[in-house]
Amino acid sequence: MDRSAVDTKIRELAESFNKKGVTITENTTFANDLEFDSLTVMDFVAEIEDEFDIIISMNQQAEIENYGQLVDAVTKLQAD
């Protein structure tokens, strides 16, 4: 799956978590812009992991602050 396909899929998954309907760009941050708390992050990550059949470990999550970084990471993980 290429980056834009991964992007489309993750956008779809993010919808139900994006309670305030924030417009998501590459630079949208999860903590500040989307205001995800740790429980939301866990559920969101679990959905992405199941969709792409990958593991995003906490160590990897620590490096991901914005939406663009998440799409990059998932694109790379699902290609491996």
Partner: protein
């Protein structure tokens, strides 16, 4: 999940906010001041002026029933336990002033390790200075770079901190969700080392893990399994070995972590294992090596207590009766509880919100009952809980008295 008052068990990064390194705590300071400004008695600043027994103390000047300690088996005032400590204090002095691997291993440390091997019927036992250090040390030491730790999201802070201190990949799964755990194990690259970390009893809601199924899944994927049995020792399982024993999987578990600060009634932590190479831990585990060993009086009280717990079936039965009576009584009064049936000696009463939770806590303490107030973010699903932990020394009459205090407080605050 556990004792974190205004912090979650899973550590959070807090960004710096300028020159004063304390600025990053301003939100927490405001939060705390906000609670106290409502005029309630500070739930997190209780002082016990006098301890009368395992179940009674003078708290903030009032005679109080203790229903929020981890003194499950009531061993703290056992005459044999107290006498063993007194004797060791006279014979061996007040402290060891050294590491277990240098000058800090006395006869008593070997004896308490033997008592643990006998209690669990395992080949190896290693005693740490606290339960926190046991998890910190074992997890951070055995799971290294390139290994994977798969753990329950509601794990205790000591488990999270053990993960943070090591270099393994950390993969949490939804609380007690067997399928979520299996999916993650399945995705780990072939050949990588895997450690599954579980708890027998989760201390916030007092619920137990489905260990029979989870341990089987872990073994299917070739993972080693570590189970923290801090909140079950002495009263769950036929010999009090914990949920692993009750579930019939103790032989499939690689490491059991436990503590002396709950049922055993003193302080300290341990790991027991049948792994043939286990003894090397004593040389490579930093939280074991780089700290002073427990004082002789502590290991002597622990050993005596552990050996008495091996014969504690009557007390065990009474603790279960207490747990069932309190659970049933609170449910009948109309309180919402953390589990549908009592699964351990912890009964969590779910409060509608933090404000009413704090008001209820205050009404209880003024009525002569101490429970733990647990609040977000230390709790699962951001709940506010009044956590009740029972003791084998609570009499039937005390349990009735407890229910009476709950009824009066609940009505006064308007929760029931």
């Amino acid at each position: 999940m556990s004792e974190g008052i205004i912090q979650p068990d899973r550590p959070e990064d807090i960004d710096g906010e300028g020159k004063d390194l304390f600025s990053k705590f301003d939100d927490m300071i405001a939060l705390r001041e906000g609670i106290l400004a409502t005029g309630v008695e500070d739930p997190f600043n209780l002082v016990m002026e006098k301890v009368l027994s395992p179940t009674r103390a003078i708290c903030n000047g009032r005679d109080t029933i203790l229903l929020g300690t981890y003194n499950y088996m009531g061993m703290t005032f056992d005459p044999d336990v107290v006498e063993a400590g007194r004797q060791a204090l006279s014979d061996f002095g007040s402290g060891t002033t050294g590491s277990r691997v240098l000058n800090g291993t006395y006869q008593g440390h070997k004896e308490v390790e033997q008592a643990l091997m006998d209690f669990y019927a395992m080949d190896h036992a290693m005693v740490f200075s606290t339960g926190y250090q046991a998890n910190l040390g074992i997890i951070s030491t055995i799971a290294g770079k390139g290994d994977y730790i798969v753990l329950d999201i509601d794990s205790h802070a000591s488990i999270w901190d053990g993960c943070a201190m090591g270099n393994a990949e950390v993969v949490p799964f939804k609380h007690n969700d067997i399928e979520a755990m299996e999916k993650r194990l399945k995705r780990i690259p072939e050949g990588a080392g895997k450690l599954v970390v579980l708890e027998g009893v989760y201390s916030m809601l007092g619920d137990i893990a489905p260990l029979k199924e989870m341990v089987a899944v872990a073994k299917k994927y070739g993972a080693m399994v570590l189970v923290d049995e801090a909140h079950s020792m002495g009263f769950i399982g036929e010999n009090g070995r914990g949920v692993v024993e009750q579930a019939g999987v103790i032989d499939d578990v690689d490491f059991i972590i436990g503590t002396f600060s709950k049922s055993v009634g003193t302080v300290g932590g341990f790991c027991v294992s049948n792994h043939p190479k286990f003894e090397i831990m004593r040389l490579v585990c930093r939280p074991y090596v780089f700290t002073a060993s427990l004082p002789p009086s502590v290991v002597a009280t622990a050993e005596t207590s552990i050996r008495k717990l091996m014969r504690g079936s009557n007390k065990r039965a009474h603790l279960w009766e207490n747990s069932k009576t309190l659970h049933k009584g609170l449910r009948e009064l109309g309180f919402q509880l953390g589990t549908a049936e009592p699964q351990s000696a912890i009964i969590a009463v779910i409060m509608p919100d933090l404000e009413q939770g704090a008001a209820m806590w205050e009404a209880l303490i003024k009525g002569g009952l101490y429970v733990n107030l647990a609040r977000p973010p230390a709790t699962p699903a951001n709940m506010t809980l009044l956590r009740c932990s029972l003791c084998a020394e609570h009499s039937e009459e005390e349990v009735r008295e407890i229910l009476g205090i709950f009824e009066a407080a609940g009505k006064a605050v308007g929760i029931i």
